[in-house]
Symmetry: C2
Subunit: 417 residues, 2 copies
């Protein structure tokens, strides 16, 4: 064990148990703790029921030395987390004048009167500390008892996250100082199947430190290499040779690393090359443009796009000939080619992309089934068209089409290097 | 308590505790059980560590009478869920010839040899039953012991979900037969703030059956009315008067119900009216077109769109005059209006939408700060432009802009009724 931290996360809220919302806090807090080498061994969720929350704290206290609970700190009668912990620890709740002053000020800044029920939020567990919440009315709570560090954090993410980052994690790092560092390295793959990658890394996935784990994505996949060591640098040194080996085996299929995504790499490479892009989309209906413009600063490289859903748009705005549409059909190699070339011409860009296909669930025929998609990428010298037969839902087919378009565009751009 | 089902969900996998993936199963299974009035009282997650999985089963068995565990049924040494439950129950694992035959056939259908390590997946908990898995190699497990119904399901969603639906839920319904039915009714709101709704439904949210709960969304919100009764019809009867009251208070802001979304309602209403739509997007970069074309069958109403990211596209394809762009700027009431009218003209549609703004994080000025967005909706008779000042991240500003555009378009379309 790298350090003595044995953390447990407890989400409180009946809406989680009904499946009405998903417990996003568990993933977020786990990630943040992992970054600091702090181990999480249990996640839990329980409803707004005081007896069950008390029991959940009791169970957690038996097996964990850090318990981070989220939710149930609001002003209403359904908010019971603080009350439950006080009951479990047999402590009183006492009014904190300082916490109350913060809540009063919170309302004053918004020029709203403080409802009487919000006073309850200034009650603190006796002998504990309240944690300031600049973004809401629910102060957090910290109390150490029975060898366990209990943290109670508010449920809204915009309140919970700053408190976690600014208060909880610094405390945990102080408490479990000298912890080992955990470093992860992510490599992104496209154009190769997950099983093909799996088969070729069997010798690398058996290791203990670093570990190598594949994760399947939609139309792409990633490998995560994770090492632990006393320092970040030492952890990175453990990762290096494994990463080099993986890169040597899969170089043409590795398009990025870390937080890279296919659209972010497309935009970044266009910007570096000083080149521009326009896209013409039929079945993906604007999704590729949306993905590319989701990248801040994309306007330097992405000029625009045409969502040519109806044939008339393919003709009017992209100059696809009515002959091509009539003879080959809207979903055809020829139409994809004419779309890529047409948008490149219409928007005067260096590169053009055309996507046309059948995303389903309706519209498929024996000859042109759902999932048939043509992707074309064009530059001044050439146009390449790829025929895809994709599986999955409408959303999956659309997303995979966009990713294939990015991937094929990157290959075309590589030729300029 | 409506019935005796006290279910607990346990997800097994270290990747969940590291925050590398989120525990999507918890939400999905909770929703499915809730639909059948089966109560879930605890969620948990634990890593790939046999001792801790054993302890998690022990804890669950003390407080729950149904335990559904997901993950850890694969062929590798890290897959320990079955082994842990066998250890906790002090039962043996025995090879099932039938389960093995299913696995062999699974590989045979794919014309691949069965790796030796997959034999392990045919081991079953003695005295239990294995559950067929048509979509993978991991059979599920069912065993009843100590008054607890234990179900072990495979981790991949495409394997877990059919097994849950076809096997687990029918068993639970038989076991906890005569259970009370839980019915939920969802109303979708736009154009009104969550706090405004909250304040006006205080008298309705204090009830026990039905309950009324607001949920904030991005740029919209919903109210969920939930009732339990012996029959679905009786539950619906409880909901009716509350729904009617809410509708009478908020009618203009309620745009849909159930699975409706803003784009689905836009498409549905266009189809019903036999009218068509084209959209011109700058800062949203194709997101509105993507949302609309995400709806199956949208091609009957949605003709196409122009992603006019660069000014030249606004001029060339939409006919926005260079004078307007130079004098008023790309982010202006005049440009939004010209975009909506331009796309309507260029694509020959009944309605046109124009969106231009500053999604950030860069590009803002004192005069035109990040979050300033103009939305224009046009038909043959008029064009309306709305100035929005939105808060949040780039993604939030873009999403909220698209939703506002849908909402304003619906208002314009209402005038044809």
């Amino acid at each position: 064990m790298a350090n003595d931290c044995r953390a447990e996360l407890l989400a409180v809220g009946t809406e989680i148990l009904l499946g009405q919302i998903h417990n996003a806090h568990a993933q977020f807090i786990s990630q943040e703790l992992a970054k600091h080498g702090l181990y999480v061994y249990h996640h839990g969720a329980v409803g707004d029921n005081e007896a069950r929350i008390v029991n959940a704290f009791a169970t957690a206290a038996q097996r964990s030395n850090v318990v981070i609970a989220t939710g149930g700190l609001g002003p209403t009668g359904d908010d019971l987390t603080k009350e439950a912990l006080a009951r479990f620890l047999q402590r009183n709740l006492v009014m904190s004048d300082e916490a109350l002053a913060e809540i009063v000020q919170y309302f004053a800044r918004r020029q709203r009167p403080m409802p009487e029920q919000n006073r309850k939020q200034a009650l603190c567990i006796e002998g504990g500390e309240w944690l300031p919440n600049p973004n809401g009315t629910a102060p957090g709570q910290y109390v150490f008892d029975r060898g366990v560090h209990f943290f109670l954090l508010p449920g809204p993410p915009l309140e919970m996250r700053p408190m976690l980052r600014d208060d909880v994690i610094p405390r945990l790092v102080r408490l479990f100082g000298g912890e080992r560092k955990l470093v992860s390295r992510i490599l992104h793959f496209c154009g190769i199947g997950e099983s093909d990658v799996d088969e070729q890394i069997v010798d690398l996935t058996s290791g203990d430190n670093p570990t190598v784990a594949p994760y399947a994505g939609e139309g792409e996949m990633l490998l995560r290499i994770t090492a632990t060591a006393d320092t970040e640098e030492a952890a990175r040194k453990l990762i290096e040779p494994v990463e080099a080996e993986i890169r040597s085996r899969f170089q043409p299929f590795i398009y990025g690393e870390g937080d890279d995504s296919l659209p972010s790499v497309v935009i970044e490479r266009l910007r570096r090359q000083g080149r521009t892009l326009g896209v013409a989309e039929s079945c993906t209906g604007g999704m590729l443009a949306e993905m590319l413009t989701d990248i801040p600063g994309s306007s330097q490289a992405f000029v625009g796009g045409v969502v040519a859903y109806a044939n008339q748009v393919k003709e009017y705005l992209l100059g696809v000939s009515s002959k091509t549409l009539a003879e080959c059909g809207a979903v055809s190699e020829e139409t994809a080619k004419a779309m890529a070339e047409g948008v490149r011409r219409a928007l005067a860009t260096d590169f053009g992309v055309g996507i046309t296909g059948i995303a389903g669930p309706g519209g498929g025929t024996q000859e042109k089934p759902v999932g048939l998609v043509y992707v074309a990428v064009a530059d001044a010298r050439q146009t390449r068209v790829y025929r895809l037969q994709l599986r999955g839902s409408r959303a999956q087919i659309r997303l995979r089409s966009c990713k294939q378009a990015c991937w094929r565009l990157l290959q075309l751009m590589d030729e300029y290097l």
